[in-house]
């Protein structure tokens, strides 16, 4: 089963506003998603929130595809209480690109983006407090990148902070 095109009044009004900045509207397993250019994501989130009631940012996360030229896929999940509808906004970015922060639209994005930064090393431009959140602040490495082996730890950090000669 493959993704099928998604077309309704919501996609029409999005297409009207954003034109070719949104490249795809699809549904897969009954779940709607759209693919947008990285610079369009925040305006899309803002439009969805202010114009069509998608007022709850459920999650921000990323998926690493190292074999692609645009390595990371950022995924934003939004929900509308009024419509009882959930949709995903996806965008592809190259390593080193700094997507704009969504904190100005949804306060939830603060910690969620910090986690994406922590795990993938994606820096969000304009984020008010972009520090690591789950790992120690001076840790090196972003563990959810596919080229980060599961057993790797930051030896220097372990030595300095835990006093162990070799990481366990």
């Amino acid at each position: 089963m493959a993704a099928t095109p998604w077309e309704d009044h919501l996609t029409r009004s999005l297409r009207e506003h954003f034109g070719d900045q949104i490249s795809e509207f699809s549904t897969y397993l009954g779940q709607c998603f759209l693919a947008a250019r990285p610079e369009a994501v925040i305006p899309v989130l803002e439009f969805l929130k202010l114009e069509v009631d998608f007022d709850y940012l459920v999650d921000v996360t990323a998926v690493d595809y190292p074999q692609r030229a645009e390595r990371f896929e950022l995924v934003y999940i939004v929900y509308s209480f009024a419509r009882n509808q959930r949709l995903r906004i996806k965008t592809r970015i190259v390593d080193g690109y700094e997507p704009a922060t969504a904190v100005g639209v949804h306060l939830t994005a603060n910690w969620l983006e910090r986690e994406v930064f922590d795990m993938f090393g994606i820096r969000f431009a304009g984020h008010p407090d972009l520090r690591r959140i789950l790992l120690p602040e001076d840790w090196e490495g972003h563990p959810l990148r596919k080229d980060h082996p599961i057993t790797r730890v930051d030896e220097r950090w372990v030595k300095e902070n835990l006093g162990l000669a070799n990481a366990p």
Partner: protein, 369 residues
């Protein structure tokens, strides 16, 4: 947070990570003006185990026990969410008998979770008695789990596609006996707390989070409902056959600590009602759908969420067609809800911070993953 640490009127107080009232290893840096909280900063990650990375290195089935260890106070709910997500990718549903059994165990788990929450929250505020009562009743639920699948806390109760074990002889009777016994116990808890002047003084008007703030911060679950939003995923987007059960969504008005207490107490009663209904209609039939020995979902991704005891628990799963997940993302309710602590604690007293941490109902295993 503005950097005004040298302001003479401001005192920085470190709370945790080893502190009985932080429900695990949570560190909160409080900025105080006298005893008034001007700002907070949470330091988390002490329990980070890299669960999402582990998921990418295990087969789909092997990962199920790991999710139990996220929110270890509600392991059954975690397992249900992940199994549903993988079933979505496989485009299959568990058989009816399995679904009803899942509902029974998940609702019992909700009650057990709320009992832990109530006991520890009351203890934090200074009421010692409810803790022992709550753990007494929770024990009954854990005994049911133990008899069903052999484990009490991280019980790996569900499998992708259904269940491993059928019910044991006498499960229905024992569950009915629990349902008959429990309402009087909830009355007891409420008698101890609801009209208690100290309890009311410590919770009413403390840690207010309005419906608007809840949406801004993505706060879900009992916290959102206590702010007056009648929203529950079991009603909004039913799964596992929840649309067949008759239950109410309890809501509050003020979104304060007291309302959240009332909402959770009512939720226990509602969950009990669901268990009662479900136990009378367990259909016969298989408990496992046709699932291959090696699960290889077709290439694609799905986001599936359930109403866990603490709020919306979501799994974003990506398959590349192989035997292991390409990516498993857990959207934990505790992590997102905890972010609102700063908003709730503004202007509160230090002692109220303890009540506010308790009322969010966090489990650090889930916050840190």
């Amino acid at each position: 947070m503005p950097e005004t640490f040298l302001d003479a009127t401001e005192l920085v107080l470190n709370m945790g990570p080893q502190h009985p009232a932080t429900h695990g290893v949570l560190r909160v840096i409080l900025k105080l003006d006298g005893e008034k909280v001007m700002g907070t900063e949470c330091v988390i990650g002490y329990l980070h185990r890299g669960v999402e990375k582990i998921g990418e290195n295990r087969s789909w089935q092997q990962f199920v026990p790991y999710v139990d260890r996220l929110d270890y106070c509600a392991a059954v709910s975690n397992g249900l969410g992940f199994c549903l997500a993988v079933e979505k990718l496989l485009n299959l549903e568990a058989p009816p008998r399995a679904q009803v059994i899942r509902v029974i165990l998940t609702e019992l788990q909700r009650i057990a979770n709320h009992l832990i929450w109530l006991g520890t929250h009351a203890l934090d505020i200074g009421a010692q008695t409810p803790l022992f009562y709550c753990f007494r009743e929770r024990e009954e639920i854990l005994n049911l789990f133990e008899k069903y699948c052999g484990a009490r806390l991280t019980n790996h109760a569900f499998r992708i596609g259904g269940l491993q074990y059928d019910l044991y002889d006498g499960f229905e009777q024992e569950t009915r006996a629990f349902c008959d016994m429990f309402p009087a116990k909830v009355d007891d808890y409420e008698q101890l707390l609801t009209g208690n002047r100290i309890w009311v003084a410590r919770t009413r008007g403390v840690g207010i989070l309005s419906a608007e703030d809840c949406k801004q911060y993505g706060v879900t679950g009992p916290m959102l409902r206590a702010a007056g939003v009648k929203w529950d995923l079991r009603k909004a987007q039913p799964y596992s056959g929840y649309e067949q059960y008759d239950f109410e969504i309890p809501t509050g008005q003020n979104g304060d600590t007291f309302d959240r207490y009332v909402v959770r107490m009512q939720e226990m009663r509602q969950s009990l009602g669901i268990v009662r209904q479900a136990v009378e209609r367990i259909p016969d039939g298989p408990i496992m759908a046709k699932v291959p020995k090696v699960i290889k979902p077709p290439v694609g991704e799905a986001y599936v969420s359930i109403e866990a005891p603490k709020g919306e628990l979501g799994y974003f799963v990506v398959s590349d067609g192989g035997p292991q997940p390409y990516r498993v993302r857990v959207r934990p309710p505790s992590f997102v809800n905890l972010q609102a602590l700063d908003r709730m604690a503004q202007g509160a007293l230090v002692a109220d911070v303890v009540a506010i941490i308790g009322t969010i109902d966090i489990v650090l295993g889930e916050v840190d993953r």
